[in-house]
């Protein structure tokens, strides 16, 4: 940011709001009580800038101050504080080039060179009055870096070539639609979606629902092609064949969870007759109870577990290898032999 001063010469002597701006001014003034109307200073300065070809002249600022019955110096403070108020004339298309870190890393410096070549120095206006540019801080579109704002719109994912193209079209008086300049939608991945592409993710079938209500009408067919790349497929919405999954089916689904390995054999002895499994380090009252439910009651049983058994119990208890880490089997073998002796 450099020193900002009014261009008093270009500003002329007078300024008046356009007639069509008056309702907007009334709207903003209406938001604040009469004695607090100076709160509307920023919106009014902004409107004055719009009505003055994109920059705020000194008479325009005074007009705002008079409207709001503010001392000139107070409005001057606001106008110089916010860099969005431009105190010098700008071109019909004013390019604000983001030079903050993400954009800079993605090549904003190259874009600057394009601006310098096509337009000239910062804040200089081309002879035909069509273009001017300045460097600004982050415009909040880092995900589409590097980018510029031209007048009110964002032009994103630029390369020196695409910016050059944009500028030459604007210089020729041709409008350029804003948005991204690479193959992507908004800030979605380039070249289309890379994840969450399965239609099943979105039609409810995963939850045993055969159809969700109020989904937008699918284009055609049972399994339609995605409309645009990267857009998740949507199944045909129906309201009629909707089914609530019953509790039984949910539980049944749980039962069906398959565990790897082999379930260890249950013993005949009941829990009271068995050993105190808590003696094994790593087994507390809760795990003991779960093991008892499986029919595991004695040290000998655990000592006799095969590798497959260990795998299964590990999965059942969601242990992720704790049995081996805590060497339950060795502990059980020792305890079983001690019991015998």
């Amino acid at each position: 940011m450099a020193l900002r001063r009014f261009d008093l010469e270009a500003g002329g002597e007078t300024f008046a709001f356009k007639a069509e701006t008056e309702p907007t001014i009334a709207f903003w003034l209406g938001k604040y009580p009469e004695d607090k109307k100076r709160s509307a200073v920023i919106p009014l300065l902004w409107l004055a800038q719009k009505d003055n070809n994109g920059w705020l002249s000194e008479p325009a600022m005074r007009t705002v101050a008079d409207r709001l019955e503010m001392p000139y110096i107070r409005v001057y403070e606001v106008a110089t504080f916010y860099t969005m108020f431009r105190l010098q004339p700008v071109g019909k298309n004013h390019v604000q080039l983001c030079g903050t870190t993400p954009c800079m890393l993605r090549g904003a410096n190259d874009l600057k060179k394009v601006c310098e070549k096509r337009i000239g120095k910062k804040m200089a206006v081309t002879d035909d009055g069509r273009l001017s540019w300045e460097e600004v801080e982050c415009l909040g579109a880092c995900v589409n870096a590097p980018m510029v704002q031209i007048n009110d719109y964002y032009y994103e994912d630029l390369t020196p070539e695409s910016l050059d193209e944009i500028l030459s079209r604007l210089a020729g008086g041709v409008d350029v639609p804003p948005g991204t300049f690479v193959d992507r939608q908004n800030s979605a991945p380039i070249g289309g979606a890379t994840t969450l592409k399965e239609a099943a993710l979105f039609d409810g079938s995963r939850n045993g629902v055969s159809g969700l209500p109020n989904l937008p009408e699918a284009t055609k067919g049972d399994n339609p092609e995605p409309e645009a790349k990267g857009e998740p497929a949507r199944s045909k919405p129906t309201n009629t064949d909707r089914e609530e999954p019953s509790k039984a089916t949910v539980e049944a689904a749980d039962e069906e969870v398959e565990l790897e390995g082999e379930r260890p054999a249950a013993s005949e002895a009941n829990a009271e007759g068995g050993d105190d499994l808590k003696k094994i380090k790593g087994i507390g009252p809760k795990i003991e109870k779960q093991l008892n439910e499986l029919g595991v009651n004695t040290f000998a049983q655990i000592a006799a577990w095969s590798g497959d058994n260990v795998k299964w119990v590990d999965g059942y208890l969601s242990f992720r290898g704790r049995i081996e880490r805590e060497s339950w089997i060795e502990q059980a073998k020792t305890l079983a032999s001690e019991d015998k002796s």
């Binding site: 008093l8 001392p71 403070e77 110089t80 504080f81």
Partner: protein
């Protein structure tokens, strides 16, 4: 009671302070010294310099003590009062860091800076700063701004404390200073570098903690440690603001305000502050005698001899007029001399004024006192413009309007007083039935507990003068402004010498002429005691003897000039508009052969054959005190004790319908007396005020 107090532990010392105190005030109460730049007790809190950081045990960061209200602080978890440390490694490191940032962009030009030697930044950098800079990059430079003929700017030195911005907006009431841009580019400026239009703009020089805003007329004149400092009283208006006259050798180098809470707080008007260059110009440094139409230097003995002859010629056809700046000693001595010669034509009032002849002091002083406006809830100004007649008091009215919701009504010229007022009329005619009006102000005024009516002295001049005074007095009585607790009626003078001269009794004696009659050719010999604000054109061939310090209107018409000392050159008594008796100090010697005026009259009395009975100023003052006991109470304003005299209903005022509207008290605030008219600075200010370019190009 205990609810309003809050306990704190500051530097291990338990202390109890009112809840509305800031932590800084509490720390000072506990005896700790807190450095600061942006904080000023008479301005709003900004909290942007961060120099006043202290440690609050348990808080995650150092606390800016100026912006922390004590009542908002939390107790320690165990319920004990918060512990504050104002020194120690933590605090010192924090302040050291702040100081380093402040100095990053501050130039190291103390040797050529006018603030050097009395600079807050310099002092505090010595106390809290580091010995060297770690900053290797370029310092920023800021363009200097034009702020008019009084304030010189070297903006690179600015540390953005915004004291000047807050002063202009809050105290002076002119929103003309501001901080533009932001961050590193932040700059203090007036709007597009226009001059400050306030009569109090010089105060930003005192407020500026660094050398960014300094005095333009004083630039590079002296160093503070070279100056002899003499406390004195200002006589540019009738407030009698406390000043300090800084002199070097024979010259007054500058005038600074001295804190006097009851009069000027710590402000000073531009005229009082910058008039000092007028003390060195246009001075009468030797006696002059007119010969063949031209003034020629003369010896004291010749001039005195001629004067004595003229005085003795005729007692009926001789008169004395005291001017605006006359000190009590001079008035007394001149009056004694006149009375010793049976001269009754003596007057100290402007031409056409008739008030004060009855000797009731309460009817010509400002009984509610200057400070009283802060207690008042409604103020009615009649025929006065306090902004130019008593600029510093105007700031106090604004303060009361801003913070105490003081309602102000004005009958007189509608001018910008820096606060809102109800404009109730423009002339004496509007005083008739004023209280019958139904405006918001009149309602507030009638319901006020402490209404205050202030009449400008200028409104009492002219044929309706006494009626205006009586009508205003009656309004005050009707509104209940005179009670045992409150004397809400007074006169605002703008001439420093007037009240003192009236207290001396410097009014026409039995059969004597008043100012108007004397000026219209009623006398053949006229002695002017520094009287320059008069229309001398109708005097005809009257012999005029001018006793005064400056060659101005009076001296140019004079036949004999007797040079006297100016207010910085003698100890002299003045009575301000409140009736407060104060003394000036002698900062420098009188110019050339000039003498203190009372001594001139004492010498004349020898030549007229009736020597006055005092040989020294002390003896004279003793007589002054004997003559009128009010002079015994130095620095004291009678205030509400005047209610007894005021509670008596005044004579019924004749109808004022058809009277001419009140006029502005003077044409130009900056040029109201001979000293100001001799000042180049005041001339520049006057030109600026009238929208003309200053003759001296801005630096």
């Amino acid at each position: 009671m205990a609810d309003d107090l809050f306990k704190l532990n500051i530097d291990g010392k338990d202390i109890e302070v009112p809840k509305h105190y800031t932590l800084m005030q509490a720390c000072e109460e506990a005896g700790a010294e807190i450095p600061r730049f942006c904080y000023h007790e008479r301005l709003s809190v900004a909290g942007n310099c961060r120099m006043c950081l202290v440690q609050w045990k348990g808080a995650p960061k150092p606390i800016a003590s100026c912006a922390q209200t004590v009542g908002d602080m939390r107790l320690n978890p165990d319920g004990t009062p918060p512990n504050i440390l104002t020194s120690g490694d933590y605090v010192e490191k924090a302040r050291n860091g702040v100081m380093e940032f402040l100095l990053i962009n501050h130039p190291l030009d103390c040797p050529i800076c006018d603030q050097g030697g009395e600079c807050d930044l310099q002092d505090q950098a010595m106390a809290y700063g580091r010995s060297g800079s770690r900053y290797a990059l370029n310092k920023r430079a800021v363009e200097n701004k034009n702020m008019g003929p009084l304030v010189k700017t070297i903006m690179t030195r600015c540390i953005q404390c915004t004291r000047c911005v807050r002063f202009a907006a809050e105290v002076a009431g002119v929103e003309e200073l501001g901080m533009i841009s932001r961050g590193e580019d932040a700059e203090i400026t007036t709007y597009l570098e226009k001059s400050l239009s306030s009569e109090l703009s010089g105060n930003v020089i005192d407020l500026c903690p660094v050398g960014a805003l300094t005095s333009k007329p004083y630039a590079y004149n002296a160093r503070p440690w070279e100056l002899r400092k003499t406390e004195s009283i200002d006589i540019m208006d009738a407030m009698g603001a406390g000043i300090r006259v800084d002199a070097k050798g024979a010259g007054v180098m500058r005038i600074m305000p001295v804190i006097n809470e009851e009069v000027n707080e710590e402000w000073l008007s531009d005229k009082s502050r910058f008039v000092w260059d007028g003390l060195a110009r246009q001075r009468l440094d030797k006696p002059y005698v007119r010969e063949n139409g031209k003034l020629r230097p003369a010896s004291w003995s010749e001039a005195l001899q001629k004067t004595a002859e003229a005085l003795k010629a005729s007692k009926e056809k001789t008169g004395f007029i005291a001017g605006d700046l006359v000190e009590v000693e001079q008035a007394r001595a001149a009056l004694d001399l006149a009375r010793s010669l049976d001269i009754a034509s003596t007057d100290c009032r402007p031409a056409g004024a008739t008030y004060g002849a009855d000797g009731v002091r309460e009817k010509y002083i400002l009984n509610p006192t200057l400070m009283g406006v802060e207690e008042a809830d409604a103020l009615l100004l009649i025929g006065t413009n306090p902004r130019v007649e008593a600029s510093v008091w105007n700031a106090r009215i604004r303060k009361a309007w801003l913070w105490n919701d003081l309602q102000v009504g004005l009958v007189g010229e509608g001018v910008d007083l820096t606060y809102d007022y109800d404009h109730l009329g423009t002339g004496p005619a509007d005083l008739d039935g004023l209280l019958k009006g139904d405006s918001a102000f009149v309602k507030a005024f009638k319901n006020a507990k402490r209404p205050m009516v202030v009449v400008g002295e200028h409104a009492l001049v002219g044929e309706n003068g006494l009626d205006v005074l009586n009508a205003a007095h009656q309004i005050a009585l009707d509104a209940g402004a005179i009670t045992e607790e409150w004397s809400g009626f007074g006169v605002l003078h703008n001439a420093a010498g007037r009240v003192g001269a009236l207290d001396t009794g410097f009014v026409p004696g039995e059969g004597g002429l008043d100012t108007k009659a004397m000026l219209e050719g009623g006398v053949d010999t006229l002695v002017l005691l520094g009287a320059d604000e008069l229309d001398l054109s109708k005097l005809g061939d009257t012999t005029v003897i001018y006793v005064g310090s400056h060659g101005d209107r009076g001296a140019s018409r004079a036949d004999i000039i007797l040079p006297s000392a100016a207010y910085t050159e003698m100890e002299a008594t003045y009575v301000n508009t409140e009736g407060r008796v104060q003394m000036t100090g002698k900062a420098v010697q009188p110019k050339g052969e000039a003498r203190e005026a009372w001594a001139i009259f004492r010498a004349l009395s020898e030549l007229t054959g009736k020597p006055l009975s005092y040989d020294s100023a002390d003896q004279l003052r003793e007589q002054i005190r004997e003559h009128n006991p009010v002079f015994a109470g130095l620095g004291f304003a009678p205030g509400k004790s005047g209610h007894e005299a005021l509670s008596k209903a005044p004579e019924k005022a004749k109808t004022l319908a058809g009277a001419r509207p009140f006029e502005a008290p003077f044409e130009d605030f900056y040029l109201t007396n001979p000293i100001a008219r001799a000042s180049k600075t005041m001339a520049e200010c006057s030109l600026m005020k009238r929208g003309l370019e200053t003759p001296v190009a801005a630096e």
